[in-house]
């Protein structure tokens, strides 16, 4: 047989590389802006499109799907071709994949500031964009499998299994968590409600971390680390065990995001048990990476790419040690909702994802441009300022998290809360937040220096768009002897590998999700809980639009420090009409689950206009546009119908009365405000959101006196 000559496509790798850097800078700049907004509310810039609640999701989407996403595709397109000894299946699909993905990101950049959001964390994009993501993901899949089918290397290296697992799992996660009923072009309601919605969301959310921020990066680690160090991975057997154990266990761990909520206890326990087991495969992977460098530490000293890899792997080890600890109930009871989680996230994100991405960029760009890196000094500077940036980010966040949680849980000897006012604890941690933004700025500056360095590198070289290679074609399968162990056979069969990975993740998915989604006894109903009135429903949609849930939780955990502060702890039956659930994951402000009737309407009106009028020193942004903008009721009918379709018991035909009811309730609130000398028309948005806030948690509060 003759060796075949072919060309690796470097251009697509370069394109994804450029996109990685540009979106990285944009996403982190938005991160820096929101970090500043947390101590300087004026940085919200006085308009609705740049308020914290709307651009925090922009930060998370931009860094995860644009920065990390493009970096994944860069790494996959580079390594897949070389591991399979084949050019990508189709240049056209590569092109569609690249531009389609950028188009999705741009649509996120437009829609999120406009307040078009589902409110599901890391899945905020509305349904038309969800469909686009699905299509582009399929394009990626066809391109990847097409390449696998025309490969010139029979066996699939472990990196590729990680890519395959990423592909199938993200597909499953995305589809299940995007089941929405559209109401209009950019508004939809989640099919699930309350506890069920929460479970699906965090099954998704956790596994977005697992299969977007982790498995593709592990795959890249298994390819690029041996390349950079010019030696094989420490233990290939360990990598096999690592792979199967990791994907099996990860899928179960979602409920650790919902500890002490109303999720059924057994589901919480399941999540905890598997989260703790996760430490084993995670550390297996990290150790496998670090040991690859054994005896090569002198190389690490003068090679900046390896330095980035080592710190990245160490950060991975830290995050995956901390994660299981955070899953222990008593630790989580303390850490959840606090800045501790933000520290955990960014150790992983900045250290592991960020540093691996930088290492790969520094390694790959000079190679595809056939030149040397423009400046090693600048790269080294980037390494140091990036590392310092992580420290200045993480340490203040741990400190802030501990301080605030301790304060919130502290009682006086008389048995009353030492700091009954949430704001007191917020003010205490502002200095830490300032330090964090300094850390973020350092990290971002490093990325900008890298962008300059890589641009100069590209300018001094010339892109080798098509890199020539030569390899023997594969013999037809029937000529090879059917020998080899099971796994060796699996490595030859990409489709079987795909199915095996799919089955492995479906096991955990079914056992964990099905009971809560199908057995109604898991969610005890409460007779006094009634559907929202049309005005409240509209108010709730404003709450979603403004992204209030990015700072305010709606779930009171059964701790004395919380029941004293907020009132009766939350019950599963209270959320049965909440499409979507709005429990939140971070308490930058106080919980709102029992906010209803705590204050008068006038208090809320003034507070929304300028929070500092009612709470001096508050860091919440002004929402003055709610006062000037008219409530859009053109969709109210459709919303009622949609909710009924989803099982909310609005009487048949109620949609025709809804407008009348809405006006009546709005007028009531406007009249009530007028008594406090506040003149506002009943058709303003603020009326609807007040109606919603006053309803929160009152259904079961009716027969109890508010505890505060």
């Amino acid at each position: 047989m003759q060796p075949e000559k072919f060309y690796y496509d470097n251009k697509i790798v370069r394109n994804f590389g450029i996109a990685t850097v540009i979106w990285g800078i944009i996403g982190m700049t938005v991160g820096l802006i929101i970090a500043i907004q947390l101590y300087h509310p004026a940085a919200n810039m006085g308009n609705q499109y740049t308020t914290y609640g709307r651009i925090r999701p922009l930060h998370t989407n931009a860094v995860i799907f644009a920065f990390v996403g493009n970096a994944i595709f860069m790494g996959v397109y580079y390594s897949l071709q070389r591991l399979l000894k084949a050019r990508m299946f189709s240049d056209a699909l590569s092109y569609i994949h690249f531009w389609g993905w950028q188009f999705i990101i741009v649509s996120a950049v437009i829609t999120l500031p406009l307040g078009l959001t589902t409110s599901h964390e890391y899945a905020e994009l509305e349904w038309p964009i969800d469909i686009a993501i699905t299509l582009i993901w399929v394009v990626f899949g066809i391109n990847m499998f097409g390449t696998i089918f025309k490969r010139r290397e029979r066996h699939l290296y472990v990196a590729i299994w990680f890519y395959i697992a990423t592909f199938v799992t993200i597909a499953v996660l995305h589809i299940v968590n995007s089941l929405e009923l559209p109401v209009s072009a950019f508004k939809s309601y989640m099919v699930y409600a309350g506890v069920q919605d929460a479970l699906v969301q965090w099954w998704y959310g956790h596994n977005a971390v697992a299969f977007f921020l982790t498995t593709p990066y592990l795959g890249m680690m298994y390819y690029f680390l041996p390349k950079m160090a010019n030696r094989p991975i420490y233990s290939y057997k360990l990598s096999i065990l690592h792979f199967w154990a990791l994907i099996f266990i990860y899928i179960w761990a979602g409920p650790h995001h919902l500890l002490y909520t109303t999720l059924p206890g057994w589901a919480q326990s399941l999540g905890v048990a598997f989260s703790i087991m996760l430490i084993a495969p995670s550390w297996g992977g990290m150790i496998n990476g670090l040991l690859t460098l054994r005896g090569a530490w002198d190389k690490v000293r003068d090679d900046v790419t390896l330095k980035f890899m080592v710190v990245g792997l160490t950060a991975y080890g830290m995050a995956t040690f901390e994660g299981p600890m955070l899953s222990l109930k008593f630790v989580n009871g303390f850490a959840h909702f606090s800045d501790w989680i933000i520290a955990h996230v960014h150790v992983g994100a900045l250290g592991w994802n960020g540093f691996l991405t930088f290492a790969i960029l520094y390694w790959l760009i000079p190679r595809i441009y056939k030149t040397e890196l423009f400046s090693k000094k600048l790269a080294s500077f980037h390494f140091w300022i990036g590392t310092l940036g992580i420290l200045f980010y993480a340490i203040p966040m741990y400190w802030a998290g501990f301080t605030q949680s301790l304060m919130l849980k502290e009682f006086t000897p008389e048995g009353i809360l030492k700091y009954p006012n949430f704001l007191e604890t917020t003010l205490q941690i502002l200095p830490m937040h300032m330090m964090r933004s300094a850390g973020g700025a350092m990290y971002l500056f490093g990325v900008i220096v890298m962008a300059y360095n890589l641009t100069r590198t590209a300018l001094q070289g010339k892109l080798l768009a098509n890199e020539a290679a030569q390899a023997m074609p594969l013999e037809p399968v029937h000529t090879i002897v059917r020998e080899g162990a099971w796994h060796r056979r699996l490595e030859r069969k990409p489709i079987k590998m795909l199915i095996a990975a799919l089955l492995v993740i479906l096991v955990g998915t079914f056992v964990e999700l099905m009971p809560t989604l199908t057995i109604s006894s898991n969610i005890p109903t409460i007779a006094s809980v009634k559907p929202y009135t049309p005005l409240e429903l509209e108010g709730r949609d404003l709450y979603i639009r403004e992204g209030c849930s990015n700072c305010h939780s709606q779930t009171v955990r059964p701790f004395r420090s919380e029941t004293e502060r907020y009132g009766e702890y939350s019950k599963a039956g209270e959320f049965v009409y909440d499409h979507p659930f709005l429990w939140g994951s971070k308490r930058t402000g106080p919980d709102l689950a029992r906010e209803g009737q705590k204050y008068g309407n006038a208090w809320h009106y003034n507070h929304l206009m300028d929070p500092r009028l009612m709470s001096p020193g508050s860091i919440m942004p002004n929402y003055d546009w709610l006062i000037t903008q008219n409530l859009d009721t053109s969709l109210t009918k459709k919303k009622i119908n949609a909710m009924r379709t989803l099982g909310v018991p609005y009487a048949l035909g109620y949609e025709n009365k809804a407008g009348q009811d809405l006006d009546k309730q709005a007028q009531g609130i406007a009249d009530n405000l007028a008594k406090d000398h506040i003149k506002v028309k009943s058709n303003k948005e603020v009326i609807a959101i007040i109606a919603y806030l006053q309803r929160l948690g009152t259904d079961i509060k009716a027969n109890k006196t508010a505890s505060k």
Partner: protein, 63 residues
């Protein structure tokens, strides 16, 4: 450390045991597969990233 699991299961202990059971079986199967892999194959696999068959390999660029 383990008390918190057993205490919070609310009568659905079977679930937890079942799940851990499947994992255990799965783990054993993967381990058996691992044991059956030949050394020569492992070597071939771990060398895959290092040989990318480029003509004028980028090797010349390495120090």
């Amino acid at each position: 450390m383990f008390k918190q699991f057993t205490e919070n299961i609310n009568g659905n202990q079977a679930y937890l045991l079942f799940s851990l059971g499947i994992f255990f079986v799965f783990f054993i199967v993967v381990s058996i597969m691992l044991i059956r892999i030949r050394k020569s194959h492992i070597e071939h696999m771990s060398d895959l990233p290092l040989e990318d068959s480029t003509i004028n390999s980028t090797k010349s660029l390495e120090p």
